[in-house]
Symmetry: C2
Subunit: 242 residues, 2 copies
């Protein structure tokens, strides 16, 4: 009897290796969107049956959600969706889920405010600590930005803009700032793609990027910071945060 029913497992296995990922994303999005509201109770059995997965897998997935403080689990009670205030909102998975939900506007505005806070300090850090290769690459990207911006090629402009901001975050010598690079990319991409924040590169923005690059190149932290601040002030105004 102990080995008679083993065969059934093989069938469900056909779904490929990313089963874990799929269920985790599905559950994560349901929570991020509010479909599974805070306080809502789940059980492992429920998850197992809903997604047709094994208990082990359901446990693994819940373990990950618990480690993100998105749910907590207690014996006899089950698995409970946490209040959003407890979530690890810096986890890239959670950011992704929130951006995929109806509430994406809130996530964008939080991320933008975070950029406003972090990027000027990152620019100052880069001016102090970037390698010479990074400094010159930054200047090259600023030149590209002008070129594509004036030519009106939004696609190439976006690519250069992403590269510029990523490089800055990665060369400022603070690994926490560096970890924000993919989120900044997400914001920049979406404001071009989804038109949530229409963007025509203004002469001021182009000039400010060049000033940041120049200040970083010459090691002038204060100017780098204020110039970056100028870039983000436009963003701030465009989003109506002020």
């Amino acid at each position: 009897m102990s080995t008679a029913t083993q065969g059934s497992g093989a069938m469900a296995n056909a779904a490929g290796p990313a089963l874990h990922q799929k269920v985790l994303d599905s559950l994560g999005e349901a929570i991020a969107s509010g479909e599974l509201a805070p306080g809502r109770r789940l059980t492992l059995d429920e998850i197992q049956q809903k997604y047709g997965i094994s208990r082990t897998l359901a446990r693994d997935i819940m373990q990950v959600l618990e480690s993100m403080n998105v749910v907590y689990s207690r014996r006899r009670v089950g698995i409970v969706v946490q209040e959003p205030a407890h979530w690890n909102v810096f986890d890239p998975k959670l950011v992704r889920w929130r951006l995929a939900s109806e509430r994406r506007a809130e996530q964008y505005s939080s991320l933008t405010e975070l950029r406003i806070a972090v990027e000027p300090i990152a620019a100052a850090g880069a001016a102090r600590r970037a390698s010479s290769a990074e400094r010159s690459r930054l200047a090259g990207l600023a030149a590209e930005l002008r070129q594509y911006g004036e030519a009106g090629d939004l696609e190439l402009f976006l690519a250069a803009d992403i590269a510029f901001h990523r490089l800055l975050l990665n060369s400022c010598g603070n690994e926490m700032f560096s970890a924000l690079d993919s989120m900044v990319e997400e914001v920049l991409t979406s404001r071009t793609r989804q038109g949530l924040m229409p963007f025509h590169p203004s002469p001021e923005a182009l000039r400010a990027h060049e000033e940041v690059a120049a200040a970083v190149a010459s090691g002038d932290a204060r100017t780098a910071e204020t110039s970056m601040h100028r870039i983000l002030n436009e963003v701030r105004n465009a989003m109506g945060l002020e």
Copy 2:
């Protein structure tokens, strides 16, 4: 034979419910400290035997570490420690592990730079969006700071300082800033306790806290931001970041 060895499980079970946590922390600290260097390969079997745990538990724990981008796992290869550049350095668990390691100084300096970036913007946000209860409580905390600071009671001063900065982050209306509150608490606590950054509340700092509270109370975002900046400038100087 299939059920003969079931009894052995019960014995190992006596260790309490937090077995998971214990092994996770142990492994996390080993990685954060560099004892398990990037590129180092592990296997589930290894983990199982080293900690005397079951495969299920070992898998759960690795799943969590993988979700933090601290390791990645591939079939036939095993579980590989990631480069620090990929880590989710905003995960509170990871911050805790890094603060527990020999490299805690790096973590403190990253966190301090993050504070310098975020808190002024948070102060501005609070001036715009805090509730009236929050505004008045902030003013009360500023008064407490002066009282305990002048009385020389470092312990009570620390408690009020933590409460002040936490409240500010929690009332600024940005849930990402809010999520940083426990990390700020950690930094404030340690600079008092471990004397890593000796701190005697200066008259300027006391005054700046009051100015932030007053600016938030009156809804003056710009003043709140610059006053908070002044608080952090002292921190910056004290840490020799400039």
